[in-house]
């Protein structure tokens, strides 16, 4: 057994390590953006428009990943874009997770009428098409960072509620819960002390997935110009603008796209890796 488990562990370790490094790099970039970014991300220079990345002929060393059709530095814009992307991921992901998991735990462990109410609410909620729902919300709330976060939380809490409810239900049927009840523990405290630690690995996986989703949602909203003001660089708006000049300057589209892809992938891989780490049985 030992070796097979070791192998799984090592693989998970590499995955965890790679994804954590990428995300760590992004966080550093976001925090120290003004120090790291080679250019002002908003500075336009029409004479230096569509400079190619550094390895192609005609590039400028000051614009390592080239510049867009307004002459803005692609690398700097990606670095500044990370601020918004990670901010949304962190805040929206955490809020969604807290609200959804809490309702899921209540529904799954207490059953009865709280479950009735929460489950029906989830059913109704999920009948709305999510993208339309988001656009509608933003239209009502107006664009801006907090609107994006609210839109994500409002749409996605059901994902947590449903999964955690099922998990809590199956954990609730375990004898250690009955045994806590026999020893006279209050039900709410059983939920927090006995059930929660056992659904935590699932919550962690969902949370990291949700962070990835939040990054995508933000990019989509930027893409359709419903995110925050256009003068702040976001990956979504970069992709949207890059699309227009794909034949003249592919790098404007490709670099933010790759960054987005790697980030979302890293979030999901981080979750898988952390899940094993949180599980004492596997550890």
């Amino acid at each position: 057994m030992a070796d097979a488990r070791g192998l799984v562990k090592r693989r998970a370790g590499v995955r965890l390590w790679l994804s954590a490094s990428w995300l760590g790099l992004l966080v550093l970039a976001a925090v120290f953006a003004p120090l790291i970014a080679p250019q002002d991300p908003l500075m336009q220079d029409l004479f230096g428009a569509r400079l190619p990345p550094f390895w192609e002929a005609g590039s400028d060393a000051a614009f390592p990943l080239g510049s867009d059709s307004l002459g803005r530095d692609v690398l700097s814009r990606i670095i500044y874009g990370a601020r918004l992307a990670l901010g949304v991921a962190l805040i929206a992901g955490t809020l969604t997770c807290l609200i959804g998991s809490f309702l899921g735990l209540i529904a799954g462990y207490f059953r009865g009428w709280p479950d009735m109410v929460i489950s029906r609410l989830v059913d109704i909620w999920m009948a709305f098409p999510p993208v339309l729902f988001a656009i509608l919300l933003i239209a009502v709330l107006g664009t801006g960072l907090s609107s994006i976060i609210i839109a994500i939380v409002v749409i996605d809490w059901t994902r947590f509620a449903r999964v955690i409810r099922a998990e809590a239900m199956s954990q609730g049927a375990m004898d250690y819960v009955a045994s806590a009840q026999v020893s006279g523990r209050k039900r709410f405290s059983i939920m927090l002390a006995e059930i929660l630690p056992n659904v935590l690995p699932t919550i962690v996986v969902l949370l990291t997935l949700e962070m990835g989703i939040a990054v995508i949602v933000e990019a989509i909203l930027s893409f359709v110009n419903l995110s925050i003001s256009t003068d702040q660089p976001t990956w979504g708006s970069m992709i949207s603008e890059g699309r227009l000049s794909i034949h003249q300057a592919w790098w404007v589209l490709v670099f933010p796209l790759v960054t987005l892809f790697l980030t979302v992938l890293s979030f999901s891989q981080l979750g898988e890796g952390l899940k094993d780490h949180f599980d004492p049985v596997l550890r």
Binding site: M1, A2, D3, A4, R5, G6
Partner: protein, 288 residues
């Protein structure tokens, strides 16, 4: 000539051996018990024969001869064909062994149609005949039923019928009554015995229960840590088990008929003895 012969079978999971040079044979028409506590490797032997070992298990040496053909030397496709035609399994848990979302009938007949190329009608007739043979009332109705509509004992009867359907020459029963009540267990054990005798099938009966062994088996193999400790017929075994571990196991099995005989757990000294035996065996291996 034995129908199933296992010669010096060794298997590992990673670096740790789970089967250590296991040799045993089952004659045509014989019932052999494969006895041991959890972790003894008894289920692994059955799985090795049927080719259903978990991926992590690696067979490192040995031969498994089924009707004279070496299973481990065959290509996987040929092996599956030979096993499908000549061997069958009665599984432990009748609840998970039947697909809950399909009717019982097709689950019995599919094997006949798919592996043996029978026509649907023939397979259907055979299934009804078998359900009748394992004393299931109203076989036509049961064929159309879903597994959850039937009791545990009934499901186990269906699995027995299904195992005998293709007239296999060898059946491996993996703790087939562990999940059942004593009264139902008795009926099922008697049924397995009856079917085995009527069809002249060789039966390898995996169990942890020496009581069950004494009721269905003619010979038995005692395992500990993947090592064969004793291989004998039941009569000498129950009179005088020759290995100290077998004797200790027998003493630890509760008997309601003599309440005063206090249960003796398997003494630590015996376990240490067996572990020393295993260590000695491992030292003799050329490369581990």
């Amino acid at each position: 000539m034995s129908f199933l012969t296992i010669e010096n079978l060794s298997a590992h999971v990673g670096p740790s051996p789970i089967l250590r040079d296991v040799s045993l044979s089952v004659e045509a028409g014989e019932v052999r018990g494969l006895v041991g506590e959890s972790g003894a490797g008894k289920s692994m032997i059955g799985k090795a024969v049927l080719g259903t070992l978990p991926l992590a298990v690696q067979v490192t040496s040995g031969r498994i001869l089924l009707d004279g053909e070496d299973l481990l030397a065959m290509r996987p496709r040929d092996r599956r064909r030979v096993i499908g035609a000549k061997a069958a399994l009665i599984p432990q848990d009748p609840l998970t062994a039947l697909n809950p979302s399909r009717r019982v009938g097709p689950q019995i007949t599919n094997r006949l149609v798919d592996i043996l190329g029978w026509t649907r009608q023939d397979a259907q007739m055979r299934a009804l005949e078998l359900l009748h043979e394992v004393s299931i009332p109203e076989p036509e109705r049961v064929m159309r039923a879903y597994p959850h509509e039937l009791s545990g004992g009934m499901r186990q009867r269906i699995l027995i019928a299904s195992a005998f359907a293709a007239e296999p020459r060898l059946i491996i029963a993996d703790e087939p009554t562990t999940a059942l009540d004593v009264t139902v267990q008795k009926q099922i054990l008697k049924l397995i015995r009856q079917m085995q005798q009527r069809h002249g099938t060789a039966l390898l009966f995996v169990t942890h229960d020496l009581g069950v062994v004494s009721k269905v088996c003619q010979s038995l193999t005692v395992l500990f840590g993947g090592l064969v400790l004793e291989d004998t017929r039941v009569e000498p075994f129950f009179a005088h088990p020759s290995h100290p571990y077998s004797a200790a196991l027998l003493a630890a099995t509760p008997k309601y008929t003599d309440p005063d005989a206090s249960l003796t757990p398997v003494p630590d000294a015996v376990i240490e003895g067996v572990q020393a035996e295993i260590a000695a065996h491992d030292r003799m291996q050329p490369h581990v």
